[in-house]
């Protein structure tokens, strides 16, 4: 069934009785050509691109809970390509290009909204660091504009330009940056993958990885053993546990990142804005809620919930930067579990087990990476070769020192 405005009209006229299931609920088969562990954004897009780009259709996605129940459904929905280190740059640039065609690709409106992202800076030094970033983006063929204080004021006149603790010197505008409707991304990939024959198997937890002679042969699950020639681990948030089933100890520490949404408000913030002197970034959803977040709670956690110190820090940052949001009320806060890596960049690589592949370490930048992560992971699983834009996301780079540390904060996992 193809979605369209016309279809919405005709279904509306006939009581919406004709809408078909967005995906099937198949029983697991005994064997697949490839299994993707993890039905989040990255897992679903991996399966989709295995089917679409590599014509592998005997593929299953195994999800222990419900599709899209992890970080793809609990983030601040920001989509951007404003990295400056080679390795990250081309990957996120590729991802943004995929985003730009995603509705047509999936026949599902993921509401990708290129409303512009503004990184504010608050000193000459920060301005120069953002200039370095912006110049890297333009060099690559992406877009960036350096705004001075008046340029920012023109776009965001309601920021506190007078009293804020760290004055606003300007901002780096990334016009193609923006947001997307997070759940829709998971559902869009799920539906599109299902239509290409991928089996999406929910409530199916992997409990073991079967390896024979250094080669993966299948997985054990709560719904029985399933054989497979290739297995991809795409379970950011639980990577250490699943990788441990194959005897691996990963360079990953799990941390909680909180996010917040306010009650609905009429349009008041038209961009994505981030504060350079505290951990605070914000945008307004199409429904009207202000969606914002800050930094990690900073302690290792699998609890998917946070504590007040970071909550208060985020709110205080909001109040010093944009006190006009003071009377908006926070409706809900939640936490996601982040795979934090020692340089803040992800891993898409083969493992020491033949046929077993790893996609993890997304820190808190995973949402915008969903299309390219799936694209590159599918490429790796199908061809056994890294995709060119993901070639630096190697598992061994911490040992060799070929790091991708955008923040410059070093090997302490939680500082990125």
């Amino acid at each position: 069934m193809r979605y369209s405005g016309l279809k919405v009209l005709t279904e509306g006229l006939f009581g919406n009785k004709g809408w078909k299931p967005a995906w099937r609920d198949p029983a697991p088969k005994a064997e697949y050509d490839a299994i993707v562990i993890g039905g989040g954004g990255h897992g679903l897009s991996t399966a989709y691109y295995l089917a679409k780009n590599h014509k592998l259709t005997n593929v299953a996605v195994l999800e222990k809970g419900y599709l899209g129940g992890g970080n793809v459904g609990r983030n601040t929905t920001i989509v951007r390509a404003n990295y400056f280190l080679p390795g990250n740059q081309e990957f996120y640039s590729h991802s943004l290009k995929l985003w730009e065609g995603l509705e047509a690709e999936l026949n599902y409106n993921v509401m990708h909204s290129q409303r512009g992202l503004i990184n504010l800076f608050h000193s000459d030094g920060q301005r120069d660091a953002f200039a370095r970033r912006g110049n890297a983006m333009v060099t690559l063929g992406d877009d960036a504009v350096l705004l001075d204080r008046e340029g920012v004021r023109e776009l965001l006149p309601w920021l506190d330009f007078e009293q804020t603790r760290f004055p606003i010197y300007g901002g780096l505008l990334h016009p193609r940056g923006g947001t997307a409707r997070h759940d829709a991304v998971a559902w869009g990939y799920a539906r599109a993958g299902d239509r290409r024959g991928v089996d999406l198997i929910q409530n199916c937890e992997v409990t073991g990885i079967d390896i024979e002679g250094g080669r993966v042969v299948g997985v054990q699950t709560t719904r029985g053993a399933i054989r497979a020639k290739k297995v991809g681990i795409v379970v950011a948030g639980r990577s250490s546990q699943v990788a441990a089933m194959a005897g691996m100890r990963l360079p990953i520490e799990s941390h909680v990142l909180q996010a917040f949404v306010t009650e609905g408000l009429k349009p008041v913030i038209d961009h994505v804005i981030s504060f350079g002197m505290g951990h605070f970034y914000i945008s307004q959803s199409d429904k009207g809620g202000l969606v914002f977040g800050g930094d990690l709670d900073f302690y290792a956690s699998y609890a998917a919930r946070g504590n007040l110190p970071m909550v208060e820090h985020v709110m205080e940052a909001g109040m010093t930067l944009m006190p006009m949001i003071g009377r908006a009320r926070v409706l809900r806060s939640w936490g996601g579990i982040m795979d934090m890596s020692p340089d803040g960049s992800p891993i898409i690589d083969k493992t020491h087990v033949e046929g077993l592949y790893l996609d993890c370490g997304w820190n808190y930048g995973g949402f915008k990476a969903v299309p390219a992560s799936g694209w590159c992971m599918a490429h790796l699983m199908a061809t056994d070769q890294p995709h060119d834009v993901a070639r630096r996301f190697r598992l061994d780079r911490f040992r060799t020192g070929h790091l991708l540390d955008e923040e410059g904060t070093g090997s302490q996992h939680n500082l990125h």
Binding site: Q241, I252, E253, Y299, N307, P309, R399
Partner: protein, 88 residues
Amino acid sequence: MRLTCPLCGDRDRREFHYYGSDAYLDRPAEGAAPAAWDDYLHNRDNPAGLTKDLWYHEQGCAQWLVVTRNTVTHEVSAVELVAGRAGA
């Protein structure tokens, strides 16, 4: 979240700075193999359950602490001084 500093007593989490796993206490000896350093700096058990990690009472007594904690429930079962631990 609260931690009971062995010196200062029961305090709010905001007084503490978090570093990471207590594996950081086992610094490889001079001349150790690169793999040992890789393990020391990067690779983690990262358990979903009981863990020991390092916290610094930055807004209090400036002591580093080993905290035994559950990463799923956030229950804290022990807090010890790094400087006071056996063999330190």
